[in-house]
């Protein structure tokens, strides 16, 4: 069980989601759009939330799960405060992104898709963010770091570790 509905702002969040769902002109098509919005609001899509959405849209929960698990953009696990995405697209790969990724796993002590014990960082690989001119590329949340070398990894992490939780 996740604690998705035990957050103090749960009702507020659900209201936002409900308003979005009600505003959809075509409920049949809306599932992916709703999931995008739900992930924006709640951060991730655990099964309780999937069930909630299924009931709200009046579709089987299995369909919701099918879609959530199909697309890599959706996550069913709670993410850390900051998400570090290392690009593993071809352009970055030939420029040595594997080494950069390895440096992140070593420094953070976690594997692909995992979150650090303190909940600060989630590490994942992504398939091309379209900034091939800057390869190898690392994205921390929405900020893009270009021409990253394995030696730069510690500095990047330090930059965010200090920020703490807000």
């Amino acid at each position: 069980m996740s604690d998705i509905f035990s957050h103090e702002k749960t009702q507020e969040r659900l209201d936002t989601l409900n308003a979005f769902i009600d505003a959809q002109a075509n409920k049949n098509d809306a599932l992916i759009a709703v999931l995008h919005r739900a992930q924006e609001i709640f951060g991730y899509l655990p099964s309780e939330l999937q069930l909630y959405i299924a009931r709200k849209l009046d579709i089987p929960a299995s369909k919701v799960y099918g879609v959530v698990s199909f697309y890599t953009f959706f996550t069913q696990k709670k993410r850390g405060l900051h998400t570090i995405s290392v690009c593993m697209g071809t352009a970055c790969f030939v420029k040595g992104s594997e080494k950069v990724f390895h440096a992140f796993t070593e420094t953070l002590g976690i594997k692909n898709g995992e979150t650090t014990a303190d909940g600060k960082f989630t590490l994942r690989d992504v398939r091309c963010i379209g900034a091939c001119g800057l390869a190898p590329v690392v994205m921390v949340d929405d900020k893009v770091f270009g021409h990253v070398k394995d030696a730069d990894v510690e500095a990047i992490i330090a930059q965010y570790a200090e920020k703490g939780s807000e």
Binding site: A33, L35, K63, G66, V67, Y71, T90, V126, I129, L134
Partner: protein
């Protein structure tokens, strides 16, 4: 509005934005105001210039001076020297890697010289968030012409006559697709723009959407008129937030100005546009899978026929075209099919945008006429290989394509010629590889990708690519056998013949193509347990540090397979192909000169 003498154009594409170009625009505005030039000098946030490897880019118009790798601390210098005193800031100019000359003008640069821009015509030229700049450059004129002077049949005939083919990779005739959708009788039809650029290493669609969003709106509206659709849907990757933002701005502006909505240009034609988000699935580039995704379901492909032109979105006739394809439509309408046919090759008219990346000096987006050779793209436009290393291969068509070797560098590129040499056009990703790249490892990389992205619906793709990936892993770890090579080939051909959709049918291509052109590398991995490029870690061998080796010959004397050579008192070397990694040399060396793998 005051007439401005100079414009400072700052790239607002994703690459440059990530290097703080937007903050630089604010700094420039403040600097210009501080020096009292705000009436004379305009600052324009443009779309991508294409030269992403050299970003952030600042261009001064009309002087045509092109500054590269501009940092915030350079801005005051640009304003005080160039804008105030009229002196060019030499150290910020682009330095050509071959001649080492600093080039002042945009059009002197080899990177731009051989390009011919149709799809990218406005990128780096106009402010994508201002509809009036688009209109000033002839925007919406094609739509106006079509709605007032042409019948839908004439529009279709015109596009068909131009010979334009789908730029997303398939290469199907765009005019024919429109014609088929136009002929399907239905009360409702749809136009869909495929902006789910999934090919890793290709970013032209993103650049067009970010740099010239109105061109897509205009072209989709023209398509809607031609096929009889009143609704258009742009299916875009959620990973492209900037492109999504600019599209939203553009759609709103078009609606306000009566260029989208009811009775466009006072005609009887009405058209509305919606944006739908993808969620990261490569297979959604396939049109039937894309349509299912737009409908809110898993993006799994279905069997064709029925084609979307007959039965697509919600069972209605649907025309799906790619971003770059759409970007070609307004110029074809304005300049005519004959103009377009004069560019490129007879079977593939027009231009193609390629995303040049990998081990190449000039990384970025290049648009060249079809029929340009790879040699021209890599050496003239791309400025050759980084660090003067040896060119090994270029991969086109991404995970669906294949490698092209030195022997085929002079092949004029079009849909047919690339297919003939075992690759494909694809969406235009072009990854250049040098001597340090192991082709077996690259094939493994692509298979890992397709295996990961396989939707799992059909067995050949779901299980077949997994088995191929396992065999490749085995080979890169030095466990491969001859039998594995035979299996790879049989399996590859079987998947090609039996997979349901384009993803599966083309997934074996990187393996089959590298097996064909780089058989010797596979052999080395299997027979000598040696990776010639030195990329496969499991096969790494001992090496000698040239700085530390004093030529004592101790290592050569203990080597059981005599793979160490060198004169006494001279640097010794290890033949990695023969080394059995026994470690005897490492133990024998007293100078710490032998490097362990």
């Amino acid at each position: 509005m005051a007439k401005q003498r100079t414009h400072i154009m700052v790239c607002g594409g994703t690459g440059c934005v990530s290097s703080q170009s937007l903050e630089m625009i604010e700094t420039l505005k403040a600097l210009i105001a501080d020096r009292g030039y705000e009436d004379e000098v305009g600052i324009v946030k443009t779309g991508c210039f294409g030269f992403c490897g050299q970003g952030p880019i600042v261009k001064i118009h009309p002087d045509n001076v092109f500054y590269v790798q501009v940092k915030p601390e350079n801005l005051a210098e640009i304003v005080d020297e160039h804008i105030v005193k009229g002196r060019i800031v030499n150290h910020l100019l682009y330095q050509e890697p071959t001649s080492l000359k600093h080039l002042k003008r945009h059009d002197d640069m080899h990177f731009y010289k051989k390009q011919y821009r149709i799809a990218l015509r406005h990128c780096g030229l106009i402010n994508p968030e201002d509809i009036f700049e688009y209109i000033a450059y002839g925007g919406y004129e094609a739509l106006g012409t079509v709605l007032t002077d042409y019948t839908p049949e004439q529009v279709v005939a015109n596009i068909k006559a131009s010979g334009l083919r789908g730029r997303g990779g398939g290469g199907f005739s765009t005019g024919l697709k429109w014609e088929l959708t136009a002929k399907s009788a239905s009360d409702q039809k749809y136009v869909i723009c495929n902006a789910d650029e999934g090919d890793p290493g290709a970013f032209m669609d993103r650049s067009i959407l970010e740099g010239d969003p109105h061109t897509i709106i205009e072209a989709m509206t023209i398509a809607g008129y031609a096929i009889g659709a009143s609704t258009g849907i742009i299916y875009i990757r959620a990973e492209y937030p900037l492109a999504i933002h600019r599209l939203k701005v553009a759609i709103e502006q078009a609606e306000i100005n009566g260029l989208l909505g009811d009775h466009i240009f006072g005609s009887n034609f009405s058209f509305e546009l919606q944006i739908k988000y993808g969620a990261g699935a490569f297979v959604c580039g396939e049109e039937t899978a894309l349509i299912h995704s737009v409908e809110g379901s898993r993006g799994e492909p279905t069997k064709k026929p029925p084609y979307p032109a007959v039965e697509g979105y919600h069972g209605k006739p649907t025309c799906v075209n790619n971003v770059e394809t759409f970007a070609n439509i307004p110029p074809i309408v304005l300049k005519g099919a004959d103009w377009f046919k004069r560019i490129g090759t007879p079977t593939s008219p027009g231009t193609k945008v390629f995303a040049l990346a990998g081990k190449i000096n000039n990384v970025g987006l290049v648009e060249v006429p079809m029929g340009t050779t790879l040699r021209e793209i890599i050496y003239d436009i791309g400025g050759g290989i980084i660090g003067g290393k040896a060119f090994k291969a270029v991969q086109t068509g991404g995970p669906s394509g294949g490698v092209i070797t030195k022997a085929d560098l002079d092949t004029p590129i079009d849909y047919e010629s690339l297919k003939a040499i075992g690759s494909m056009m694809g969406s235009g990703g072009m990854i250049v590889m040098d001597e340090d790249d192991c082709m077996v490892n690259i094939a493994k990389f692509y298979l890992e990708f397709t295996q990961d992205e396989s939707c799992g619906k059909c067995t050949p793709c779901r299980i077949g690519t997994k088995r191929m990936y396992e065999i490749l892993t085995k080979i890169t770890e030095g466990e491969g056998t001859r039998e594995d090579l035979r299996k790879l080939k049989t399996l590859g051909h079987m998947i090609k013949d039996s997979a349901l959709c384009g993803l599966g049918q083309t997934a074996p291509n990187p393996v089959l193509s590298t097996l064909h052109y780089f058989a010797d590398e596979y052999d080395a991995h299997i027979d000598a347990k040696h990776c010639p490029a030195g990329a496969c870690k499991a096969l790494a061998k001992y090496d000698i540090d040239p700085e530390k080796c004093i030529g004592c010959t101790a290592c050569a004397r203990v080597c059981p397979v005599q793979c160490i050579t060198g004169q006494p008192k001279m640097r010794h070397t290890i033949d990695a192909a023969k080394c059995i990694t026994c470690g005897a040399c490492y133990t024998a060396c007293k100078f710490d000169a032998v490097i362990r793998p």
